[in-house]
């Protein structure tokens, strides 16, 4: 049994950590947090140069052709650094949708541009309140013309293109939904920025008015492609969440060692120690579930749907738990804008919703476990 990353993959993780420590300090994150930039363009360029944006994109489409395990270790470091770049939208969602369903021409057009950092992509799925469901897709596509509104769309204000879920039928079944590839610079697209929990990653409302678009994948296959994309993204996001959870735990631990109150390090009080021990427990459970997700993703195993849902739930819980208790360990200082704790709290809670909320994934997990047991 070798349920671990290889030495090469661990080396890649170290390389990514070092790179991000240098190029993505909390000070750099704050430029975006304070609204002085929409994302960190220099960092994005650097990630492209390092080959990180295209690490899982095949060489024939301009990527490094490594694989999903390599992408997982990079994702963990992106989460740890709280990187203010559209990595998850572009790499986990748009690129994966293209890899799963794109035509050769579509892949040739967009994947090399993603790998080189020239194109930012995203997925436009949600239309206001509610979790992923064919019923919640109201935006229509008639003869390749889109009409409707998507919100929130992660990184929608800076994206060059989007994968858009649209209604192409009215039977009430999953095959009513088809996907489209939309150049967001084209006519008929209106983009509005939305203030959101995590200013280091923008959210947008995108309106499509008689917007002419090209299909992505076969008509009526949209929902099954989306499900596959969300499963992959769930695993990759779980690694970002695990990275974030670990960092929040470290920050709390370090503060507990440095801070003196009542004449002692506050980390010597059991109330604080036990809080940190519990954070370690959730971070560890999340990491182990995520490793299993990585294995299923990298081998395209039949277990992927169940593994992805478990990784998603566990990592979401761990990041939220560690981020909120990191603030608690810091006390009043943790609630200031000046300290970095709130950046992780914001990111943790935004990420908990991005691919559908916890209650959605809980439901998915049980469905998938039942299917497996029935099989």
């Amino acid at each position: 049994m070798n349920f671990d990353f290889s030495d090469d993959q661990k080396q890649l993780r170290d390389q990514a950590r070092k790179f991000l420590a240098e190029k993505c300090s909390p000070k750099a994150v704050r430029v975006v947090l304070d609204g002085k930039a929409t994302y960190d363009k220099e960092l994005w360029k650097g990630l492209a140069e390092m080959g990180f944006l295209g690490v899982a994109i095949p060489e024939e489409y301009g990527g490094a052709g490594a694989g999903h395990l390599e992408l997982c270790v990079i994702a963990e470091e992106m989460g740890r650094a709280n990187a203010p770049v559209p990595f998850s939208s572009t790499v986990y969602l748009a690129a994966e949708a293209l890899l799963i369903a794109g035509s050769d021409a579509q892949k040739k057009k967009w994947l090399p541009a993603i790998a080189s950092g020239e194109a930012i992509g995203t997925l436009a799925l949600f239309e206001g309140k509610g979790n992923p469901s064919p019923k919640n897709v109201k935006l229509t596509a008639v003869n390749g013309v889109l009409n409707g509104v998507k919100k929130p769309v992660a990184d929608g204000t800076i994206a060059d293109f989007a994968v858009v879920a649209a209604r192409t039928g009215s039977s009430g079944r999953e095959n009513d939904i088809s996907l489209f590839l939309v150049d967001l610079r084209a006519g008929g697209v209106e983009i509005k920025s939305l203030t959101n929990l995590d200013p280091t990653r923008g959210q947008a409302e995108i309106s499509f008015r008689d917007c002419r678009v090209e299909p992505l994948g076969a008509a009526g296959e949209g929902w099954s492609i989306l499900t596959a994309v969300l499963d992959r993204a769930a695993v990759l996001c779980a690694f970002e969440q695990v990275g974030g959870a670990d960092r929040a735990l470290e920050m709390g631990r370090d503060y507990a060692l440095d801070r003196i109150a009542f004449g002692r390090q506050i980390g010597s009080f059991q109330a604080v120690k036990h809080m940190l021990a519990d954070m370690y427990v959730s971070a560890t459970l999340a990491r182990s579930n995520s490793y299993y997700g990585a294995w299923a993703l990298s081998t395209n195993a039949a277990e992927l749907p169940e593994a992805a849902a478990a990784a998603r739930i566990s990592a979401t819980q761990a990041f939220q738990h560690c981020a909120k208790n990191n603030i608690q360990v810091h006390g009043g200082m943790g609630f200031t804008w000046e300290f970095d704790c709130h950046m992780y709290y914001r990111r943790a809670n935004a990420m908990a919703l991005g691919l559908g909320s916890l209650s959605y994934w809980e439901d998915q997990l049980i469905d998938r476990m039942r299917k497996k047991n029935a099989a």
Partner: protein, 415 residues
Amino acid sequence: MNFDDTPQEAEFRATARAWIGANAPRQYEEELRKSSLGRTQLKNANILEVAKAWQKKKADAGWACLHWPKEYGGRGSSPIERVIWQQEEGPFGKLSHMFIIGHGMCGPTMMAFAREEHKRKYLPPLASGEKVWCQLFSEPAGGSDVAGLRTRAEKDGDDWVINGQKIWTSGAHYSDYGILLTRTDPTVPKHKGLTMFFLDMKSPGVEVRPIKQASGASDFNEVYFTNVRIPDHQRLGEVGDGWNVSLTTLMNERMSIGAGVSTGFPELFEYCSSLMLVDGPAIEDRAVRSKLANWAVKASGLRYTSMRAISALSKGERPGPENSIGKLVAGSMIQDVATYALDLQGAAGVVSGPEDAELAGRFQAMLLRAPGTRVEGGTDEIMRNIIAERVLGLPGDIRVDKDVPFNKIPTKGRN
């Protein structure tokens, strides 16, 4: 990243599987598979006898205490082979329960500290299950604070004379030998005045009384010592060094108990899959699903955490500290799981008798046994201290009795 055996591991697995297939007591397989916390018994056989017979059979064929050296009754196997054996042994592993303390704690302590002739004499029958061992550490005055124990050992010629009381001794009523931690010098600080021995449980002056637990069952005992004589050659480690000796034992305790933790989740998932509520199947109820999902990811998280540790063993590395979470997570989880299973039964959940209760009272038995899992082998709070101090590097507790002679430490909280 893969779950495959190496060729060597695969060969070992095939050998183990073949032997178990041909030799395991198949007639008890179904009952053992269905047994869960608080309810491990066989209807038509004495489980202790079945367990001893299986252990002896394994020992005769070289399958007992796999990781021990051959000369002490083991197989000299690698840690990963031991894990593969446990996987293959499956439900029959539940028969090893009565040997866990002896094999997991007393054996390693003997191996580290006993004289060579004692190791050769006592370890092989311990491995084969012909002799059962217990561990005599906890006392009424020393649970989490084990070093606060008061059982005295006083030198008298070549012997030590023991007086005092132990408590929470698993299996003392069927044990042949025990390892015993005593106080040999009450005038020095508590950690410095301890000494470890092993003794024959049939020695004159040893009296074992079962404790009736909160669950109603009796798995543990009180053991009283009245002028019990132990020869000095049965001392383990130096006089006054008993604390360090006990740390060897306790480290092994946490590893061996943590290895086979049960969470109750498979039982609950199975139950909810067939249970009908007023509005339909329980598994289709939103609230039930949410609870199940939350426990599912804890159970899977523990499973894959131990697979990470096994992978480290497979590569010949030491597992990381992450395995220390097992008992802490599983202990409170099984209690919550049992509580919820009864909640789903409504008022009928109160009925616990095997003849009348739902699933023969499986979850009721689990609920009543569960508080013990959060205390035995280190309470939840001690486990959190260990994680905080040894894994996260936080400061140890401030110990007000650290430099105080033992006999000057207060013994009452209030007057």
